[in-house]
Every structure is written in C-alpha cells, then in structure tokens.
C-alpha cells in the first residue's frame, strides 16, 4: 500500500495496512535538503525536492506545499519581511488594509500570474509528477480569517469584530474569493487535498467564530468540494470552544493542535471525522525521547479512535532530533487503526 493509498483508505473509512503519518514539515524539510529557507519558499523546485527527500528519509505518507502564510498577501502587494533562513512574515505595521478604504480599491487577483501563488501551483504539479503515484500531494491556502488578519493586521481585525462587523464580512468575502481562486488552481494542478490554514480563528471565541468565521470557512470548503477537492482544516492553537463548528464544516480531515485533548476533539467532532495530530511539536516531539513519543501516541490513539492520522499539532520544528520523528513514524507504521 502506498502512502497515498493509505491516506485515501482512512478518508474512505476503510482499513489501511497501518496508520498514516502526515506531520507538517517546512523548515525541517529545508534542513534535510540542506537549503536555506529563503530558497525553499521562493523556488518550488527546491521545495519539492526537499519534501520528497524528507518523505523518503522518514517514511512520511505525503508531501506538502505549505511554506509560510504570506503567499497570497505578497501577491496582493502586502509588505513582507524576508529572512535568509526562516519563514517570511507580514509586516503588520504596514498592513495592506490598515486603512479600511483600501479594501474597496482592490482589483481582482489573477492567481496564476501572482509570483508566489504561481510558485505553489507549479510546486503541486511537480510533486504530482515526481511523487504523486506514491505520496499524497497537499496544496495550501490561507483561510478567510487568517488571510483577513494578514491583510488587515491581526490586532486591528480582532477589534474590528466589535467595531465594524460589516467591514469584517466585506474583508472575509474578499479573502474568500482569493482562497477559492487559489484552491481551484491547485486542484487543477493535481493536489489531492487542500490544506486550509485559518490559525487566527483559534483566537476568537465561539460567538465570533460562528457569526464571522464559520460561514466563510464553510463557503470555502463547499467550493473546494465542488471543484472535486478534499479539505484539511488546520487551525492551530487552542480550539476547544470551536471544535463543534470545525467538525460541522464537512472537511475530510481536521487537524488538532496540542492544547486540545484528543478525547475532546473526538467527542465534539463525531466518530466519522478524520482527525490529525496532536503531539506537542516542541515539548514532546522535539524535547522528548523516542520512548515518550511512543507512549504519547498510544494515548492519542486510544482517544482518537479509528479515524486518525498521526501528526504533530503543528509544524515539526527544525531542530527536532531525527530519532524522535522516526519514533513517530515507527509508531504509525507498526500500528493498525483502532477497531
């Protein structure tokens, strides 16, 4: 069974040969390939090579084009701080929509002409061509709330929910259109699944999530499904109070980060929801021992049940000992999904 078949089996509710393993690797993968992260995020060929090398070296079941949250924002004209060997970051003080009126002046974006978005699309094509028969290929878009935070400035957005609800809906309508266009292109390029990263949603409570965030996430999920794609929802952080909403989106896969007990995630999202996670990437996966990692995964499996994919709650940090990631993969490869 290939990694791709293994993941597809779990998503179909069938029994794979063993549990799939899908930890997010970004800077870790760049290090495995001995490239600077700036090269990784700017050249899809370097990213694809690093992803394939990492998947092969550790036995991961997938490859991904997730790299940083600034691809869409950069192509829209936002100010980005570039670093030689770490992910680029939005400069919030110069946020594109710091002035709310700037939203109304925006022109529609051509997703394949934008430099950084096109690079991801080309990355998906290359990964599909080089590894797609064996490994599950993941695309990535920023969710409506996360992209809204990138463009408006996260501090401003958090207060906009109260100060100017109408603007928030206009903003999320704009970011939704970006995400829909970008995800459509990625599905056409061959992505098996689209990761929707909406981390900013973990900062709001259930009221704001249901009123402002969920409806726009739902439209994105429905659009991806309409395009024939699958969705991996990734809201890292403490999502305890919005789990029911996350489970109601209809995503094929929902990532759970370490602050959320897997048991709670299972009870809130239902038995049929495939959950991914949720090892603490720093305290357990990086700082722990292989033995402790195996014990932690045993406990996670008991709580998560059958519809579960092994992963860390968020990105595998770059200085994670290789034997620790190997211990995570070994657990997956030596365990069948719970009955």
């Amino acid at each position: 069974m290939t990694g791709r078949d293994r993941i597809l089996a779990v998503l179909a509710g069938q029994q794979p040969d063993h549990i799939p393993c899908m930890p997010i690797t970004m800077t870790f993968a760049a290090d495995i390939s001995a490239v600077k992260y700036l090269q990784y995020v700017r050249d899809h060929r370097i990213m694809a090579e690093a992803q394939i090398r990492t998947a092969e070296a550790f036995g991961l079941d997938y490859v991904s084009t997730i790299s940083d949250p600034t691809r869409e924002a950069a192509d829209l004209g936002a100010s980005i701080q570039w670093y030689d060997d770490r992910p680029p970051a939005i400069i919030e003080g110069q946020a594109l929509f710091a002035d709310k009126a700037a939203l109304g002046r925006m022109e529609p974006v051509d997703h394949v002409r934008g430099n950084r978005m096109e690079d991801r699309i080309r990355g998906i094509e290359l990964l599909r061509e080089r590894a797609g028969s064996e490994l599950f290929v993941e695309g990535w878009v920023e969710g409506p709330c996360a992209e809204g935070a990138d463009l408006r400035g996260i501090n401003r957005l958090m207060m906009d929910f109260s100060d100017d609800p109408e603007f928030v809906h206009d903003l999320f309508d704009f970011t939704l259109q970006i995400a829909i266009g970008f995800s459509t292109e990625q599905i056409q390029a061959g992505a098996d699944i689209i990761g929707v990263g909406d981390a900013a949603a973990s900062l709001v409570g259930p009221r704001i999530y249901k009123e402002f965030v969920w409806p726009w996430e739902k439209r994105l999920v429905d659009s991806i499904h309409k395009d024939g794609g699958r969705v991996r929802l990734h809201i890292c952080g403490n999502t305890r109070r919005i789990l029911d909403g996350m489970g109601a989106l209809g995503c094929e896969m929902v990532d759970i980060d370490y602050p959320v007990p897997m048991e709670l995630a299972r009870s809130q999202t239902g038995q049929l929801q495939t959950l991914t996670g949720n090892m603490d990437p720093v305290r357990e996966l990086r700082n722990g021992s292989p033995e402790a990692i195996a014990r932690s995964l045993e406990a996670q499996q008991l709580q998560a049940g059958a519809q579960w994919i092994v992963a860390a709650g968020c990105e595998v940090v770059r200085d994670t000992p290789h034997e620790n990631l190997r211990a995570m993969v070994e657990f997956a490869q030596t365990h069948a999904p719970a009955a």
């Binding site: 800077t27 770490r86 709001v204 109070r241 200085d319």
Partner: protein
C-alpha cells in the same frame, strides 16, 4: 466611595469611550489617579484575566479591554507625571529580533499596564542592543521578552547575554513567554521566569516584586 463602577464596567466590557468618560468624571469628582487605578482598573483587568482563563473571554475581548484601559490611562498619566506619583514598577517589553509577531506581547503589555505597572513597549523585531539601550534609559525592574517562533527563541538568549555584557543583568528580572517557550528553556538561558499566558505574567511580576 472611591471606586468607579463605571470605569470597572467599561474596561470589563471593552468600551473605550465609556472608560474615558468614566475616568474624566472620577477625576472631576476628585478621585486620585492611583486610587482609580488600584480600585477600578486593576480589579477590572484581573477579572478580564480570570474570564480569559475560564475561556469566557478570548483575544478580541482582551484587546478591547486593553484599549479601554489605555483610554483611561491617557487621562491619568499626565496627572501622575505632574504630581510625581509613580506606578509600582516599570516593565520594558518587546518581541525579540527577527520575530514580527506581537499579539501575545500586546496582551501581556495590556494586562501588566492594567494591573498598575508602568509598561514601556518596544514593539516587534527588537534587537538586543535596543533592549540594552531601553533598559539603560528607562531603568525598569523587569524586562519581558516574547517570541512566537522556535527559530527566534535563540534571540532571547542573545538579549540576556547582551544585558549581562552591558552589566545590566543584576538590575532587571528577565521574564520570557510565547507559544514555543517553556519553563525549561527559561532556566537554560538564564531567565528569571516564564509564563504561558498573560494572567500568569501578571502573577509572576507581582510575586517577584513581593520577593524583592
């Protein structure tokens, strides 16, 4: 009665305009700024912190409460400067070099300011040299370092080392925080304390002050 219920409620509800008006009314009624801070502002921010811990409040509510508190402080600061009144301790805070994330740092800064401390916020991407300069200039009792990324955490150690090299380390307590930061890491790099959230940071500063 010196407590302004209106100010307390305005901060708790994140209403900056009402907080400003309530502060103005209290000043006109003759309430001393430090009394207003200790009787209304600090209890309100304590309650905000409690509600956050209980997962009744979330980041938007914290930021709104912080903004309401600042609108009150805008009126109180000039009065305190004029009368020579001082807050209980001074804190310099910033996100370390290479890190652009500031929402966690902003919440900690607000909670500390609303808890009656004089907070100097240096912003994001703050170099070790800038921390050193600010500490020389401001002479704080505490310096708080924030990092959201594992790749920027080493800048915390760089900053602490720079404080030591400048001979400033004995003068300030260094506290660190941020999602990937741990108590173990704080010990490894020679920080004086670590907190996993804003309420904990307030408790930590208060407890270290009590020990001093």
């Amino acid at each position: 009665m010196t407590k302004s219920v209106e100010l307390y409620d305005a901060i708790l509800n994140g209403d900056a305009k009402k907080a400003h008006a309530a502060t103005q009314a209290a000043i006109e009624a003759g309430v001393e700024p430090l009394t207003l801070i200790s009787e209304s502002m600090v209890p309100a921010m304590d309650e905000v912190g409690r509600l956050f811990e209980e997962e009744e409040y979330f980041v938007p509510e914290l930021l709104l409460a912080g903004r309401a508190m600042k609108s009150s402080m805008e009126l109180l600061r000039p009065l305190m400067t004029a009368s020579g009144e001082k807050l209980s301790a001074k804190v310099v805070i910033g996100t370390v070099k290479g890190d652009q994330h500031d929402i966690g740092k902003n919440i900690v800064a607000s909670m500390l300011e609303g808890s009656g401390f004089d907070v100097i916020d240096l912003g994001v991407d703050v170099s070790a040299e800038a921390f050193v300069a600010a500490i020389k200039e401001q002479n704080p009792q505490f310096v708080c370092l924030s990092a959201l990324l594992t790749v920027t955490m080493p800048a915390m150690k760089t900053t602490i080392d720079a404080l030591s090299n400048a001979g400033l380390r004995p003068r300030v307590k260094v506290l660190i925080g941020g999602a990937p930061v741990t108590g173990q890491y704080a010990k490894e790099i020679g920080a004086d304390g670590y907190s996993e959230n804003a309420s904990g940071a307030v408790v930590l500063v208060r407890s270290l002050l009590a020990e001093a």
